[in-house]
């Protein structure tokens, strides 16, 4: 392996899913401490920093670099919503190859649940009766919730391809099974397809159990070059490919309600790695909603467009299936503190190191992370591989 190939050498999670004792900066700090301890990297060796947080704004990396004390030569606060961290992998990998820095810390933290309750999915856009600007002028007055936006995506998929609610429900059931293996997951009791369909409708056709949890939580991972990784504590996980793209930002601008930018980024990611979907052993996909997973599955090439429903109904994403999905319990059952993309990378690394305990996928050598931000708007796909 050429010496400047990018690898991931450390991971850390802050306390979740309910952590009222931690502020947002404290989530960043705790996750960093745990990633440093995991990797054996000395804090003074961090010379690259990627960071975003909920409500952090474009200055988040500056604010947190000061708080954490990172003397960076390379910094990036790219904000694409929940997929930001997949974009950060792409950018950090390029920076490492280019020699702009040697060791990059990526952090995320959010006290969303403790600070704001479960308002993320079912508040409106814009303030109540407030003044709105820009694209919100043509959206906010109609009372669309975040769940409702994804519901429109699901409705169109059902209309075009005959996708059924019970097929979407299967995704939630499989992820819950993995949550049962994670002592920290927010919800661990097994559920059935009938449970999902019987849970109350939030925005037709999405039920409560089609929607992710709202939690607190943060994460960190550390990237460096393959050469430096040799002296560190953990087996390095290779970044085999990474690509990002966007089709829209606001839901009203989604050009095709059944297709995301993953249809472009996934082929690019596989081409970088010289791999195909058949080579993937485990999936870490953004599961804000069951329809998010279904759309990403099709767009990443695991089945043809429109065949996601029958595909998931065959049980491939379950524990013991050929493409286990979200082995930490996902956003659907374990942890979603607003922007989940960092947890996809962290769980993929855990799997590829063989450290996933009961949730370990046998012979996991290649993992695909697919992050989604906004309303399936900004998509980042990352292929990771065992050394």
């Amino acid at each position: 392996m050429p010496s400047r190939d990018p690898v991931i050498v450390g991971i850390g999670l802050s306390d979740y899913p309910v952590a009222p004792h931690l502020s947002t900066p404290q989530h960043h700090a705790q996750a960093m401490q745990r990633a440093l301890a995991d990797s054996g990297v000395a804090k003074r060796d961090l010379d690259g920093f990627c960071c975003v947080g909920m409500g952090g704004g474009p200055g988040e990396a500056m604010v947190m670099a000061e708080y954490l004390g990172i003397d960076h030569r390379y910094v990036d606060s790219t904000m694409t919503g929940g997929s930001s961290f997949e974009f950060h992998v792409q950018h950090a990998a390029a920076a490492l190859r280019q020699g702009l820095c040697e060791t990059v810390l990526v952090t995320y933290g959010s006290n969303f649940l403790s600070a704001r309750g479960r308002t993320l999915g079912t508040g409106g856009f814009g303030g109540p009766g407030g003044r709105v600007h820009g694209p919100d002028m043509y959206q906010a007055a109609y009372g669309l919730s975040l769940v409702g936006a994804y519901a429109m995506i699901a409705r169109r998929h059902m209309h075009e391809y005959g996708t059924k609610p019970e097929q979407l429900a299967e995704i939630a059931v499989g992820v819950r099974e993995f949550a049962g293996l994670n002592p920290k997951a927010m919800y661990r009791d097994p559920i059935t397809v009938s449970d999902v369909l019987a849970s109350r409708m939030i925005a037709d056709p999405l039920h409560l159990l089609d929607c992710c949890v709202v939690s607190d939580g943060g994460g960190a991972f550390i990237m460096t070059t393959a050469e430096r990784a040799r002296d560190l504590r953990q087996p390095a996980v290779r970044v085999l490919g990474a690509a990002g793209g966007q089709t829209h930002w606001n839901i009203s601008q989604m050009p095709d309600f059944t297709r995301s930018a993953a249809a472009k980024t996934a082929p690019e990611t596989f081409a970088q790695a010289g791999l195909t979907p058949a080579d993937v052993d485990v999936l870490q996909f953004y599961d804000s909603f069951t329809i998010t997973v279904l759309t990403l599955l099709e767009d990443c090439g695991f089945c043809a467009k429109g065949e996601g429903g029958p595909f998931v109904a065959e049980g491939h994403l379950r524990r013991g299936g050929r493409l286990p999905l979200n082995t930490d319990g996902g956003g659907l059952s374990s942890c979603h503190s607003g922007m989940r993309g960092i947890f996809l990378v962290i769980e993929a690394v855990r799997q590829l190191r063989g450290q996933a305990g009961e949730a370990q996928v046998p012979r996991a050598e290649v993992a695909l992370c697919a992050g989604s931000g906004g309303f399936l708007s900004g998509i980042g796909t990352v292929l990771l591989g065992k050394s």
């Binding site: 003044r131 002028m137 109609y142 409702g148 936006a149 056709p205």
Partner: protein, 143 residues
């Protein structure tokens, strides 16, 4: 399109700048606008200062105020006023024959009657004197 005036407005209120006001002023006159590019013919909505296809200056263009439901949801939970008092209600993407889509509410229709492909027509509601937003209802029979 019909314009409803004098109704109390509790929803988020657009605050357009001078370049954005024509859409809302036209709606208050009963006219539904979108944009067309004189250079390349591309049509777009929401209105903006540039053609997203070719980069030229777009112009306002009228639409007939009719469309079909492209996709929709029935919102059954929303904690924010005034919407929390109006549950359940329909939010839809409306496809206009001119070639653009608009987000909006479909009102005055039984929830189980809303479907993809439903024909709808626009009406406008004033949110302050001289400025209005479009809403949609099932197309009535007749000319």
């Amino acid at each position: 399109m019909e314009v409803i005036r004098g109704q109390e407005w509790k929803r988020p209120k657009p605050a357009p700048d001078a370049s954005e006001r024509p859409f809302f002023e036209a709606a208050a006159r009963g006219e539904l606008l979108h944009q067309r590019c004189p250079a390349c013919g591309h049509r777009q909505f929401y209105p903006r200062a540039v053609c997203t296809a070719c980069g030229a200056d777009p112009e306002w263009a009228p639409s007939a105020g009719r469309g079909v439901v492209h996709t929709f949801t029935v919102v059954r939970q929303n904690g924010m006023p005034p919407f929390k008092h109006e549950l359940p209600y329909v939010v839809a993407m409306i496809e206009l024959p001119e070639g653009v889509r608009m987000l909006g509410n479909v009102t005055g229709v039984e929830l189980d009657q809303v479907r993809v492909g439903l024909a709808v027509e626009a009406y406008a509601v004033e949110f302050e004197p001289g400025l209005a937003l479009p809403f949609w209802r099932a197309t009535r029979s007749g000319p």
